[in-house]
Amino acid sequence: MVLKSELFELIGSLRNNNVEVIITNNAEKEIEKFKMDGFKITRALSADKRTGIIFMGGFENKKISALAEHHVIILSERDVKEDVISAYEHAISNSECVFASSGPSKTADIEGKTVFGMHGPRKVTLVLEVKNEDL
């Protein structure tokens, strides 16, 4: 697989943030297996390769991003941005009610012990859609 360096950087950031990453040239096919109870699927507007912050839009999606048990996000390679400000500006120019997530919900409020799935999703999967020639 030949992936551009910025995609490698994004994947590294996402894994640091405990996000599962699936790379595909056919996101629709990939998300078929997630179409069941507990999974919620959202399309991302953009992501920052340096931090792994993923921007999405729409009020219903915003609620979903906190209510889902397992949040599946589809991101197109062309929406991966150099920095967080570019990613944000790309997102607000394409949608109302923008918000961002960077991983599963977590807390360290009990003795500093990290627990995932505090109030929001226990798991976040990012389906990264790349062009055919990259795979």
């Binding site: 944000y88 807390t107 409020d109 009990i110 505090m118």
Partner: protein, 364 residues
């Protein structure tokens, strides 16, 4: 708890030192990996200076943009005015879900809403523990850092949650709070940064409770300290990222960018409460990352008990002088200068503590 009782309380010291060990190293790592954050800090500092120098102009603009979007906007000169407005919006016999907010601690909001017969829940896990213990937060970001797993298990039994470890306890709170989120009439949050350009409220968090508390209820109230105003979205976003990076948990799991939407009634209350008239203007540059608290040798011994009724630690001594009273607790500072060294906004807290001491002595 009195100040010298705090000194005897080993769990405060242990909790803070455990947190310092976990997070100090993370802050250094964040800055190494994301060196541009230092530039962001400079930009945000300069932008905030401009706002503070021309508060009236920016507040008027902030209120105007919100009104144009259909938000009901209020300006509260002090805590009493803010409480009165919130009480009128909420009414009685409602379920209210709150996101952790230092401004709401500052005006002691929960107490007043409960007195009116409302069921009010702190939805952040740490803040819920503090609510159940009827205490004040021990740190602005990690309010319950001084409790052990076993102590939290005992505290949560009060609301019927049983668990043997952090995972089981968090699971119990998740289930309990989901029901509250789904039935809540009103959601209340603070504001980490406000953009004048768009009227958007930026809030960061890791648990997901702020997203649920501010998007599920039909009514949403945001309390905004006037020093949270920034010129535009770029600066607001940079400010919240700095807050998280300099605390140690970066990137934040959630960035909420709240604005008026059709499905929700939205109310914004700007709070002055001493900010405009203070002689300690430099403190208004604070982004409340909480770093000066954790790194301070005095805070490490006393926790937030070293401070006023809401704010503690180095920043809290000055915030208390702004919003409450000039406290003689400032004489406990060693003036070691660590807070100034590590502050992303380069706030000279030791100099303000000296000034505070001078004015207390002159008063006597």
């Amino acid at each position: 708890m009195k100040i010298y009782e705090a000194l005897e309380n080993k769990s405060i010291r242990d909790g803070i030192l455990r947190t310092v060990r976990n997070l100090s190293y993370q802050v250094d790592k964040n800055l190494q990996k994301h060196p541009y954050l230092v530039e962001y800090a400079e930009e945000v500092r300069n932008a905030k200076k401009e706002i503070i120098a021309n508060f009236d102009f920016w507040i008027e603009k902030a209120m105007g943009i919100l009104q144009s979007k259909g938000v009901e906007v209020f300006y509260a000169n002090d805590a009493n005015e803010a409480i009165k407005v919130v009480k009128e919006i909420v009414g009685s016999k409602k379920i209210v879900v709150k996101a952790k907010s230092m401004v709401s601690e500052e005006i002691d909001l929960r107490k007043y809403l409960e007195r009116m017969g409302n069921e009010v829940w702190e939805t952040d896990l740490g803040e819920l523990i503090i609510q159940l213990k009827k205490e004040k937060p021990m740190h602005s970001v990690l309010p319950a850092l001084h409790y052990s797993e076993a102590q939290v298990a005992e505290i949560l039994k009060k609301i019927g949650i049983n668990g043997r470890n952090a995972e089981e306890l968090a699971e119990g709170v998740r289930d309990f709070m989901r029901k509250k989120f789904m039935s809540a009439n009103v959601g209340i949050s603070g504001c980490n940064a406000f953009s004048v350009d768009s009227g958007r409220i930026f809030l960061i968090e890791n648990e997901g409770n702020i997203r649920l508390a501010t998007s599920l209820p039909r009514k949403y109230i945001a309390l905004v300290g006037i020093e949270k105003i920034l010129q535009n979205d770029r600066l607001a976003l940079k400010s919240v990222l700095l807050q998280s990076a300099f605390f140690g948990t970066f990137p934040p799991t959630y960035i909420n960018i709240n604005e008026k939407i059709e499905q929700q009634e939205m109310f914004v209350i700007f709070l002055d409460n001493g900010r405009k008239s203070t002689e300690f203007k430099e403190q208004l540059l604070c982004i409340r990352c909480g770093r000066c608290q954790l790194e301070c040798p005095i805070f490490q011994n006393f926790g937030n008990i070293w401070g006023g009724s809401a704010y503690g630690g180095p920043m809290g001594i000055i915030w208390t002088a702004i919003t409450e009273k000039k406290s003689e607790l400032c004489f406990l500072s060693t003036l070691c200068g660590k807070c100034r060294e590590i502050c992303p906004m380069k706030i000279d807290i030791p100099e303000m503590i000296r000034e505070l001491r001078r004015s207390i002595i002159m008063r006597k």
